[in-house]
Each structure stands twice: as structure tokens, then as C-alpha cells.
Amino acid sequence: MNSASLEYTDRESLKAIQDERLINTVKRSYERVECFRLRMQEIGLIPDDIHGTEDLAKLPFSYKKDLRDYYPYGLFAEPMENVARVHASSGTTGKRIVVGYTKNDLEMWADCIARMMREVGVTEKDFVQVSFGYGLFTGGFGVHAGAEKIGATVIPISSGNTANQIQTMIDFGATVLCSTPSYAMYLAEEIERLGLKDQLKLRIGIFGAEPWSEEMRGKIERTLGIKAYDIYGLSEVMGPGVAGECRFQNGMHVWEDNFIPEIIDPDTGDVLPLGATGELVFTSLTKEAFPVIRYRTRDICSLIPEKCPCGRTHIRMHKPQGRSDDMLIIRGVNVFPSQIEEVLLKVSGKEITPNYQIILDRVNNTDTFDINVEMSDAFFADDIKSIEKTEKTITEGLRSTLGIGAKVHLVNPKSIVRSEGKAKRVIDNRQGKI
């Protein structure tokens, strides 16, 4: 059976495929992955107890923390000689997390992205400008492979250098743009300002890796004269392409022959009825190097039970509307407040973290990232030079830990408002600003 026909296969046949793959994934993980085996043993479960997707809820959850505890390769189900590539993303603390792919995994990943690209009209005649970052981040290489699979001409420009991006788009005749939505918005405004829209051949945009609104989609589409589509994914599960929109732009199809989504109550862990809003959980069905079972994404969203007019049987998910943990997405990068605490603790050299507050805003389509840190005895010196040095040490520590820059401001002690003794850690003013 080829993968294209699987997109339209009836639910009953799809379930049979999922059952077989789930049983196999559970068995392989139990035999090869200590973390999973221990969790199964804790609740007295063996692989033979799993007969199909109806038993999914019996299985234990897995968490981002597991990737840190078994860093770097402890959760892999294949020996490293079978692992063709690794990617990495930020963990909840300074240590990043690592994921791995076999050749088959990379093939499956490319196939998922190619499905979406084909559906929204990308063909071998297209020029796909990939403005996602290339590197340990899954964005660049992931989308690249999907576009190559279709036979399109790939322009692997990576992120950054706006003037060069626009020039390349014009000179190389890019027809498809892949990037974060905020970067697409920024490019669109620059193009409009420079009056270069007429020289563009762009017709399709594939955007993801951060939250964006329908309003923002409308603005990007109008300014660039394109159709903009949403793509979803996360490194722990695979990368971009776990789900993607079809031409109807109404929810993203989760490729259910490879991934099973569930929506749970983040507090109780109970599976919620179809259509309810809760935390998204994924189980991989075909991944070899790094299979995930009931992985808690911490993304809050809902699944769409209705059939899609495009004819695909694979269920759709709404764009995530928030997080069940405190992770922030700033300029497309995942940031946990605990990472910031770690840096401050290191700089202050004390056991108590200085009080701090993160202030996010959006100016000219770019996220601004400011951190107010309350001055303490540990940071204070009576000359400005020494204080500036401390400020710089914090700023550089944050940059190397988070991978993005933040503006650090030292403020008066106790000036960060506390409610019931706890300071409000994050003020996010980005809502509704495009």
C-alpha cells in the first residue's frame, strides 16, 4: 500500500493498520527502552495486554523530562549505527534534549511533509525557499526533505538576513516560502515597504513552529498575494509535519498511519471525549530510532471529529491555543522560565534565585523579550562598571542557554508585583498583536 492511498483509507482499515503498528511499537519499546519498560512494570502491564488502539489509554505517559533523564541517547530503540541523524531542541533546563532518526524515520518524515505540500499544490515545478533554520533545529532539514521528495527545487537559505532573503526570493524565482509565521509577516512588510511585490513569484506559504492567528494569516496572504498554510510538529515526536493543513485551511490533518493523537485532561490524565479541549498526546506508530508512547506535548488544543471536505480520513487538530506547562515560544524558540532561573542562580552564586519577570511584546512583527531582575546584594556593587558587567554576564548566560537574546533590566528589590507571595513570572502582551 503506498502512502498516498493511506491518506484516504477508510477508518476501519486505518484502525487495523494502527492496531498492528501500535502492538509492534509497544513490544519493541518494552524490549529495548528501559524507561518505558520500567513504567510498564510499575503499573503491572506487559506488551501482550495491548491488543489495539482501544488499549491505548492503559499505557503510561512519557514526558519531556524523560529525554533529559536519559540524555542523550537513552530512549533510543535502535543501536547508534542505525541512527542516521540526530536533532536537538531546548529542554526545560540548560540541558537540551536529543532525538534520533533511522533512514526509515527520515523517509517517513519526508513523506509526511510531502503529503501536505502536494495537497496544497506544491509540485516538482516549484521553487521552495526554506527559511526555517538549518541545524539541530528540526525545521530546516525537515521541510527540506519533504520538498525534495516532491521533486521541487529547494532553496535552502535558512533563517535570517532579510535583505538577502528577499533578493534570493526574487532572483531565484521562489514560488513557495517555508518559515515561522512571524518571520513571514516581517518579510511581507519589508517587501511591501520596498515595493517589490510585483517582482515576486510566490504563491504558497507553509508556516509553523509558533502560534499565529487567523488575522495574521489574512494579513500575510494579502500582503504577499499567497495562500498560507499551517504546519505542526515537535522534535520529540518528529519535527514539523506531524500534522498539516489541507487546501481547506480548517485544521491540520494528523497523519494517523504514523501518529495517534489523544486529548487528555492535563491534571487527571483522563482521555477526554472527541472534540473536547485538552492536552495533546502523541503515540508514534512507525518511528524506529526514537518511538514515543503517549508523549505529553503540553500543547492545549482539540481534535475535529467531522469529516474533512478534502476527502482525507485522517483526523484534524485545531491550532494549539496554549500550553499546559509554562513553556513560552519566543521568536519560534521554546523557552522555559526554569532555564532563566538556572542562569540567574549561576550568576548570583546563591541558593536563592533572584526575583525576575519576563515581559513579552510584539513590535514590528518581532517578539521583544525583556527580563526584569530584582537587584540583590549578590549583584550589587557601588560602581556602574561592575553592575554593567553583571548585567552582561546574565545577558550572555541567557543567550547561550536559550539561543536567543533578551534585554536584561536590573530593578529595585520587591518592585516586581507579588500576589499571595508569588511573583507573576510572565507578562505576555503579544496577544492580538500581529
Binding site: 537587584m375 540583590s376 546584594d377 550589587f380 556593587a381 557601588d382 560602581d383 556602574i384 562598571k385 553592575i387 554593567e388 533590566h409 536590573l410 530593578v411 529595585n412 528589590p413 520587591k414 518592585s415
Partner: protein, 143 residues
Amino acid sequence: MIIKQLSVFLENKQGRLEAAVEILASAGIDISALSLADTADYGVLRLLVDQPALAEEKLSESGIIVRQTRVNAVAMKDVPGGAYGILRLLSGTGISIEYMYACVGRVSGEALMVLRTDDTEKAEKLLEDNGFNNVSPQDIYRI
């Protein structure tokens, strides 16, 4: 002589300086010299007061970051070249000045120069050896 100066952290926001000075006023503390160094975000207020220990306690109690710093105080003639004489003495000795400020002294016709260097002891010795040991504690503190 080496004297105790108070250094206070102030966020660059309306009312912060006023609040700190008010605490000193209500504790009956007399400020004899004051200097403010600032950046866009914050400043450091440096103070000579008559009762440094009490001032530090009162400011700390109010949650203000304050520290005692040892600085050199020198009296100089309030005439052209007065400051130059002291700076010339320090130049070429390897002592570098972090900051300095001056105020009018209690003795008529004299000014008080406050110096913060990277080596307070060495600076003091140099000043003493050159006849600048000319400030009495009464000039600074209420004794």
C-alpha cells in the same frame, strides 16, 4: 582619611530617589555629600552621612539595596588647580580612579574631594605622605 560612604541602588524610575532620601530625613540623618551615577535603567546613589550605620540599617529595613564603601576623603583649597593637585599626585602611581566627586567643605574656603580608587589603602598612604591627611572625622560624621 578613609571614610565610610553609603552606596544605594536605585532603579531609574520616578520617586525612587525621593523615597530613599525620605527614609534618611525621617531618621534624622544629615547628608553632607551626595552623588548620583546613572544609566538608562538604574543609578547608584553615593552618600556621605553623619551616621552611616544607622542610615544603612534604616535603608536596609525598607528593602533598599545599600552597601558601605570605603573611600578616601581629601580637603583641598577651593581655588583653581585644587583638584588638579590631587589628581596629579595619583597619576602614574598605578592607582586608578573608579569615580570621584566633590562637595563644599565645612571649613570656609575649602572643598572636600571624595575618591574611590581600586586601592584605597595605597591611595590613602600616598595622600598622607604628601600632606593631604587633612580631614577630621568631625568634618564628616556627627561625633
